[in-house]
Amino acid sequence: MKRLVAVIAFAACAAAQAADYVPLPGGRFESVLPQGAVPTASAPVDMQPFALRATPVTVAEFARFVAAHPEWQRGRAASVLADARYLSKWATPLLPGAAVPASSPVTDVSWFAAGAFCEAEGGRLPTWLEWEYAAAADATRRDARKDPAWQQQILSWYEQPTPATLPAVGGAPNAYGVRDLHGAVWEWVEDFNALFIAGDSRTQGDPDKLKFCGAGALNIIDRDSYAVLMRIALLSSLNGADTTSTLGFRCVRPVPGASS
């Protein structure tokens, strides 16, 4: 059994080494967040095809990145781009050390640092819609969100406390072949600062209502998607320089021939 685990861990590691991207086809998608002009009504969007990293970026991959891009090493990255906690568990600015396993998802990284990693890999962070679209799938269906059993399974993952040492990437693939979207870590998205939530009763008659221009901020359409809503709540509370011990990322690349 131990050997099997070791083999699986090695396989996951090797997969991540090659930075596996899996293609996702385009399609009609209904987000939990309203995408139309009317903030209380659902409006499906047409997703363009894109390629998504099969697993979150690992500690080993991020270590190679900071070695090649010294400006993103702990102590060198400007505090306006990465806060004081950035990679703070690493033994040195270059070496993660024994406390941070090489094949675990990298965390304690800021949005700016995550975006720089993806740019260096010829990609970018996924948009919220791209992440949500990929994460709607279970093992066999592209959109399993209406299935109470799937909802329950996601929730049960989130109910487990985060272990002190994050497990290696390489969980079971979903219908697209994407792994670890639920369970292991939270993930940055390109448009994290688009996910502000307002438009509920707390803003009615608020003298500060001009804080947001336009038709009010986001409303939540599907209130049953608790796990996804928890992500939105977390992301909307962050600044670009913030880091947390449970927040990692993965990247997307455009697929040839698709307009973005």
């Binding site: 995408q35 139309g36 002009a37 409006a43 969007v45 400007a78 505090s79 306006v80 781009l81 949005w111 700016f112 975006g115 970018r124 390109e190 448009d191 600062n193 688009a194 996910l195 502000f196 500060d208 001009l210 804080k211 947001f212 221009c213 336009g214 038709a215 009010g216 901020a217 986001l218 600044n239 670009g240 320089a241």
Partner: protein, 198 residues
């Protein structure tokens, strides 16, 4: 990398600026920005005259910074009014030392020609840079300025409306969400930052 020629050009431009700038600008432009400076963000923009510039080239003078889009008819005009109102509350010499940066959320529609027209409509003189950049850069600029925005399907944007006061090194000294009126905190910050003589 496509940024290299642009960087070279910026370097030349900033050399030219050094030659023309008053003495107090020299030290600020040559010293690297501190870690908590907005100017540590590598961002390339283009202004209302079609001139490319690096965000960090604004180093050296106090700055009022915000974001907007031209086709916005609700809050955005008030952001321009807010900047004017706060500037009017300063003594003339200090007022002239302040620079203003307004970055568009909407690079597709806010071309330099549109930005130029917007600048004229809102009585923005040469102290103002109305700027556009690619969408990825706009997200980064918003992130350092603490501004949130999202594009709606109809082409409008939801966005927060704050104006930041940056010191000459690019550190955020104050932020206001008071629109259309003077914020004493902004005026106090600018009085402290702007050189008193010329």
């Amino acid at each position: 990398m496509i940024t290299t020629p642009m960087r070279r050009r910026d370097a030349l431009l900033s050399l030219a600026a050094l030659a023309a700038a008053p003495a107090w600008l020299h030290a600020a432009e040559t010293a690297p920005a501190p870690g908590d400076s907005v100017y540590r963000l590598d961002a390339q923009l283009e202004d209302q005259d079609g001139r490319p510039f690096a965000l960090s080239s604004l180093q050296g003078a106090p700055l009022l910074a915000s974001m907007f889009y031209t086709s916005c008819d609700m809050v955005c005009p008030m952001i321009f009014e807010t900047v004017h109102a706060n500037l009017r509350a300063l003594p003339a010499a200090q007022r002239d030392a302040v620079r203003i940066l307004m970055v568009s959320f909407d690079p597709a529609r806010d071309t330099p020609a549109v930005l130029k027209k917007t600048a004229q409509q809102h009585h923005c003189d040469s102290r103002w840079r109305l700027a556009r950049c690619d969408e990825g850069t706009a997200r980064k600029v918003a992130a350092v300025l603490g501004i949130q925005y999202r594009r709606l399907a109809n082409g409008d944007f939801n966005h927060s409306s704050t104006v930041d006061v940056l010191d000459a090194q690019g550190r955020i000294a104050a932020r206001t969400g008071k629109l259309g009126e003077v914020d004493p905190a902004v005026v106090a910050a600018l009085r402290k930052l702007a050189p008193r003589a010329g």
